[in-house]
């Protein structure tokens, strides 16, 4: 039997739709789950994904990718590659597995929501592949760290992390619940696939895979490359969705959804990627700073791709650009101070050579942030390690859940008041790290009200005893799981873990 070429049957097969007779359109696509009713049913038929794939091709591609990636893993697991990796890089992958594995799996819920409640048949078809992608990403990123367990028991945080109240996980979970677990199909398309995946992670995964290869971590490099090719495909759901929205006069709503999630994505990126690129990745493997990466990739991408659709820069754009110089440096200092409270070993990344690199990439770094590390360095040299650990919690933002570091903004002239912006809702005061986080809350307070930040939980007695010991137990961290300095403080004595000055 002759085989038809894909273009002969694809559109017909893809656009199979129902003529509803027994239920209404609203019953079949409830607005709370679909989010698409601003635009009429017919208009959604214009939805068209740029990159087509049939089920047969999809399965073939995925099997090929899995075969290659798992084979590589099997070969490398018998080697000593992991043991020889830089300690900072080991922290990059441990942090990644704990923070990202379960969200990838949960993203299958967001994809499945589009696969059921997306209003275009083409959209539902593409989202079905996306659902399978995300299940695969959850599974493969749980399996790879499972292979690390004999060498690094904290590989099990790939599964464990999301079942704890660890403060980093509170931040990540809050973000992804907002972005896709508790979001309607239209908002998932705009906020997950367009804003996060097209705007940030697709690019980040390319860079991260290259970095992994550079530091000799072939296993992680192959894993990330394998995931990135799926992301590139299913991330395209955002473009046709925003196009339908804009073509039907609802640009303003699309802009609102993007503004909301671009800021939240930036916060998560600064935490996970900012620290990895500027402090944890070994100096000799760094190709660009985090700021350069954001400028060259994310900003350029946003400027070119997002503006092609007539979208504007988010209203806080100047604040975002300004933060590239300082925000993640402040977060790094705090994460390192609170190192027992994370499941990886934070790399201070401030040996003399690294400080020189930081000063070159971020002129003024020594004046603003170096002076804090001068105090920390002296305490390490004087044997006063207790002074390098915390005794209370930083105030956490009621949106991003990350420490409020406006005090650092004060040092660089980014703001004039270190006080957290506040908002009172139904008798409770909420505190924020920034005006954009406050804006996100105030636009839809009922969506976020009631959640307690880690600081709220300490203040209201949820954490007992209310001290660092009680806090670490609350976060699910036994002593062997608690982070320590990645380089065993070699940086304080002018060297790095591998002895380089």
């Amino acid at each position: 039997m002759p085989k038809l070429s894909r273009s002969d049957w694809y559109d017909l097969s893809r656009d199979t739709n129902w003529n509803l007779r027994y239920v209404t359109e609203e019953d079949a696509f409830p607005e709370q789950l679909s989010g698409t009713h601003r635009v009429g049913k017919q208009a959604w038929e214009a939805w068209d994904e740029p990159y087509k794939v049939s089920y047969r091709e999809y399965v073939h591609n995925q099997v090929t990718k899995d075969t290659t990636t798992y084979s590589l893993k099997n070969a490398i697991s018998r080697s000593k590659v992991f043991e020889q990796l830089d300690p900072g890089w080991k922290s990059v992958i441990l942090a990644h597995y704990g923070a990202i594995t379960m969200p990838e799996y949960l993203a299958s819920i967001g994809e499945a929501r589009m696969g059921r409640f997306g209003r275009a048949a083409a959209w539902r078809n593409t989202a079905t592949f996306g659902t399978l992608d995300e299940v695969r990403h959850g599974q493969i990123q749980a399996f790879f760290p499972y292979g690390l367990l004999p060498k690094e028991p904290r590989g099990d945080w790939a599964l464990k992390a999301f079942h704890t109240n660890n403060w980093i996980i509170l931040a990540v979970r809050h973000l992804f619940d907002d972005m896709f677990v508790a979001n309607d199909a239209l908002s998932v398309a705009i906020q997950l696939t367009f804003t996060l995946e097209t705007g940030f992670t697709n690019l980040q995964f390319l860079g991260m895979a290259a970095d992994a290869i550079d530091v000799g971590d072939l296993e992680f490099g192959a894993l990330i490359s394998s995931i990135q090719t799926d992301e590139a495909r299913h991330a395209q759901q955002g473009e046709p969705t925003i196009k339908v929205l804009i073509d039907n006069g609802h640009k303003e709503y699309g802009q609102f959804l993007i503004d909301h999630m671009f800021w939240r994505s930036w916060r998560a990126f600064a935490l996970l990627t900012g620290l990895s690129m500027d402090y944890y990745t070994p100096l000799e493997a760094r190709k660009m700073s985090f700021k350069e990466f954001i400028q060259d990739w994310v900003v350029k991408q946003f400027a070119e791709q997002f503006r092609d659709y007539g979208l504007d820069f988010p209203w806080y754009w100047d604040e975002f650009i300004n933060e590239l110089d300082w925000y993640h440096h402040a977060i790094h200092t705090i994460i390192w101070n609170y190192r027992p409270s994370v499941w990886w070993n934070p790399d201070a990344g401030v040996s003399p050579a690294e400080r020189e690199w930081l000063e070159e990439k971020y002129p003024g770094w020594n004046r603003v942030f170096g002076k804090h590390w001068d105090v920390l360095t002296q305490n390490v040299r004087d044997g006063k390690l207790a002074e390098t650990y915390p005794e209370t919690l930083p105030v956490a933002c009621n949106i991003c859940q990350l420490p409020v570091v406006r005090a650092a903004g004060l040092l660089v002239g980014a703001n004039t008041d270190p006080a957290p912006p506040r908002y009172e809702h139904e008798g409770r005061v909420y505190q924020f790290c920034s005006e954009p986080c406050k804006w996100i809350f105030t636009q839809r307070p009922d969506r976020f009200a009631g959640h307690k930040s880690i600081t709220d939980r300490l203040w209201t007695g949820d954490i007992q005893p209310p001290n660092i010991g009680g806090l670490l137990a609350y976060m699910g961290l036994s002593e062997p799981e608690q982070g320590t300095d990645a380089d065993n403080y070699a940086w304080a004595y002018g060297t790095t873990a591998n002895g380089k000055r």
Partner: protein, 82 residues
């Protein structure tokens, strides 16, 4: 006497911390409680006196924090008066 949760920033540090003071504490004591989490840890020590600012007003050292108008979760700044 009652416990009073506050957010406190020591100027020169990178973050704001959650602290619990007594509403009968003087501004001097509140300043020391904030400084405890910053000075000698991330902020270099200084011989200058530590002062406290609440709602834009620098408090007298013997002023009682509860009577100065501080409410739960208010923000208080401490700084070296150099």
């Amino acid at each position: 006497m009652a416990l009073l949760p506050l957010s406190g920033t020591f100027i020169g540090d990178v973050t704001t911390v959650g602290i619990v003071v007594d509403d009968q504490d003087t501004a001097e004591v509140v300043g020391q409680k904030i400084a405890h989490h910053s000075v000698g840890r991330r902020v270099a020590a200084s011989s200058a006196p530590i002062r406290v600012r609440l709602g834009g007003r620098v408090l007298e050292q013997d002023e009682i924090i509860g009577q100065a108008g501080a409410a739960p979760y208010d923000h208080v700044e401490a700084f070296f008066d150099e």
